[in-house]
């Protein structure tokens, strides 16, 4: 139905000639735009409803005093639905530590939350297909679980700033999270509009890249530098991605362009993970609670893990 509508819009409404490169690009653009925005609305709305059951306070309670494996798995999963923006990273970190959430489990959450979320998954689904979206989500969770477990095993609590352990919260907590389902729907609607307002421009740019640059720049433009044949493609992409700061929506146009022009899938996914999970501004913010040594360990573990993921996918995809 969407396909018919797109052709109708391009050829009847705009009266463009059939079979030219431009009209083809337009048709693709309209089709993809509608498809992806429909997906975004439906999925963000659905996830927002789930999210209303897992505010950070509840996530903190669920994770406190959970040990070992189960804590990491839960933390990574809750990271999908519990949002946090980098300006909340520090209060959240302190709150988790204070509530007795183990350090490694806290990290699993801090890694998963910005990297694996519904926006990333929908955009990957819409642009690359559901398989790639699932692969990204699955490996993102594994990276968060794995990196958090290593940090937990290394017993790095001593490299958290001392004052963090001295903070005792006043024990006031948010009012009961029991809301009427109607309120959750209102929240979901507000959250969906909020997110759409923030991401729509990036999404349009990404789709435009797919529709218009496609065919104008040679497809194998990047193959020589970043194709599966180049063993340094993954580390270079990750090294470039670490200092870059963007959310999943912001990085999508770049990712799409890179992939269109011949960068291999593993390298593209590794780049996206590096951009969303690690960023210079977030490190500067986290420096308020973590000693520089712990930050360095965190960045190193993440870099190595993400590079590993990139190689793995280049080998199997």
């Amino acid at each position: 139905m969407l396909k018919e509508f797109s052709s109708y819009a391009v050829y009847s409404l705009f009266g463009m000639a059939q079979g030219t490169r431009l009209s083809g690009a337009f048709e693709f653009f309209i089709y993809d735009t509608i498809k992806i925005f429909l997906l975004l609305c439906v999925i963000i709305f659905a996830v927002s409803i789930i999210r209303s059951y897992f505010p950070p306070e509840r996530t903190k309670r669920i994770l406190s005093n959970k040990r070992e494996f189960i804590g990491h798995v839960l933390a990574a999963l809750l990271g999908i639905v519990t949002p946090f923006c980098s300006c909340s990273a520090v209060p959240l970190f302190i709150g988790f530590v204070e509530a007795g959430v183990p350090l490694g489990v806290t990290f699993s959450f801090l890694i998963s939350s910005p990297m694996v979320n519904e926006i990333a998954v929908v955009l990957l689904w819409g642009l690359f297909g559901w398989k790639i979206a699932l692969i990204y989500m699955g490996t993102g969770l594994l990276v968060a679980i794995f990196a958090g477990m290593i940090i937990g095993k290394l017993k790095l609590e001593k490299w958290v700033e001392e004052y963090v352990y001295k903070i005792k919260s006043m024990g006031i907590s948010a009012e009961s999270t029991k809301q009427a389902f109607k309120d959750r729907l209102v929240y979901a609607r507000e959250n969906t509009t909020d997110i759409l307002k923030k991401v729509w421009a990036y999404v349009i740019v990404a789709i435009a890249i797919g529709g218009f640059i496609h065919g104008y720049v040679p497809e194998d433009f990047l193959v020589k530098y970043a194709g599966p044949q180049n063993p340094f493609g993954v580390p270079i992409a990750v090294a470039l991605g670490v200092p870059l700061y963007s959310n999943a929506a912001g990085v999508i146009p770049i990712v799409y362009a890179l992939m269109e022009k011949g960068m291999s899938m593993g390298t593209v996914l590794a780049f996206m993970m590096a951009v969303t999970a690690l960023s210079l501004p977030e490190m500067i913010i986290l420096r308020k609670v973590l000693k520089i040594k712990l930050l360095a360990v965190f960045v190193s573990i993440m870099t190595v893990t993400i590079i590993g993921v990139g190689y793995l996918f280049n080998a199997i995809l």
Binding site: P55, P56, E57, K60, P83, F84, C85, C87, S88, V90, P91, L92, I94, G95, E98, Y163, I167, K168, S169, M170, G171, I172, S173, A174, E175, E190, N191, D194, K288
Partner: protein, 80 residues
């Protein structure tokens, strides 16, 4: 009445402060609006996602999206 707006200083935190001040003015009540931006203090107050709004010691809101002005007025009014 004591109203605290908690946030390290991102755009949303300033908006929340404005909302609280406007709400107080429109409600015509006596209340002090205090901005808390020290991260340790924010954590002590039990706020996990910013911006936070605390009225008379009760957490009324935390995180995004921000509540509407009407909602903020309501949150403040029940404590008055």
């Amino acid at each position: 009445m004591e109203i605290k707006v908690l946030g390290p200083g991102c755009a949303n935190c300033f908006k929340m402060e404005e909302l609280a001040k406007t709400a107080v003015k429109e409600l015509g009540i006596e209340a002090s609006v205090v901005k808390i931006s020290d991260i340790g203090q924010i954590a002590i107050h039990g706020i996990l996602s910013t911006p936070g709004l605390i009225v008379n010691g009760n957490i009324k809101h935390s995180g995004k999206p921000l509540p509407s002005l009407e909602k903020v007025k309501e949150l403040i009014k029940v404590e008055a």
